[in-house]
């Protein structure tokens, strides 16, 4: 049997459109992690909701695959679906919700630990950060979702969201600033506390 893992997305889509279940499975295995990461910022701490959202994305892919045109990159199409699923299902306040400083202090300590020990990845820290991202305004959250989930460039993100590229960069910067500033403030407080 042909090794589908070496085929690019365009080839896999053509095979899947022709009815190849193996090709669709390869598409799923290749992109499920990124879709999950992209939707994690919408789902927050609710793991079951995240599973449901990811499954809904791929169900929509199954149904819409015959209509997909290869003139558009597959990852753009896939993560546009993911973005729409996230927008439709998550109930979010319109304004920024103030974050509990105590929780941020814990987060800052974890961030310092990650900086002090060279990164062997810390999924718990990443999960904690993702929960914070879920509290950000929707436009900022969507940029973060596409940047860290789909690993898209700012140009690609801007094309998907129909915004200027500088706007996409600024929104990502805003997200990082919120996390960094709070982490930095509470880190100083933590250092004073721990001596």
């Amino acid at each position: 049997m042909t090794d589908l893992s070496t085929r690019d997305d365009a080839d896999l889509v053509i095979l899947a459109q022709a009815g190849s279940a193996a090709a669709f499975e390869q598409i799923y295995d290749r992109h499920v992690g990124g879709v999950g990461r992209a939707l994690a910022s919408f789902a927050g701490p609710d793991r079951h909701l995240l599973d449901d959202l990811v499954q809904e994305v791929f169900l929509r892919v199954v149904q819409a695959l015959p209509r997909y045109s290869p003139s558009r990159p597959f990852t753009h199409w896939l993560f546009t679906i993911a973005l729409n699923v996230g927008r439709n299902h998550v109930r979010r306040p319109a304004r920024v919700v103030p974050v509990d400083p105590a929780e941020l202090a814990e987060l800052a300590d974890l961030a310092d630990l990650a900086g002090a020990h060279e990164p062997d990845s810390d999924p718990a820290l990443a999960s904690a950060l993702m929960r914070r991202v879920a509290e950000l305004p929707a436009p900022v959250q969507e940029v973060v979702s596409l940047r860290v989930g789909a690993d898209l460039s700012y140009r690609e993100i801007a094309a998907i969201l129909h915004i200027p590229e500088p706007t996409a960069r600024r929104r990502m910067h805003d997200a990082v600033t919120v996390l960094r500033d709070h982490a930095g403030t509470t880190t100083d407080r933590g250092r004073n506390r721990h001596g």
Partner: protein, 108 residues
Amino acid sequence: MADTHDIERLLREFRYEADPSRKEALLGAFAAVRHESQPPRRSRVWARPIPLYAAAAVLVAMVGLSFFAGQRVAALDRQRAVAEPHAPAADADAPHSIPWSTAASDLL
């Protein structure tokens, strides 16, 4: 203090692992959609070229008609053969054309 790149890198380290049962359900949905998009098996028989069936039907009809026509002709021939011995004999007194020799002797 964590800088921009650290924050982005940390976010990228989020790991999502899907429940295997979710994947099986999706593969089942894919198979169902694929099955629905194919025509029913029954119609595939009739999807073969219609003219082929029509030509075969015409050929069979021609052979059949020829056979039965031949049978009918043979039957008529037998009927005619049976009827001919009983046909009425020609009348000796009925006027008929005069032979040339008789006509010539009368004039003489």
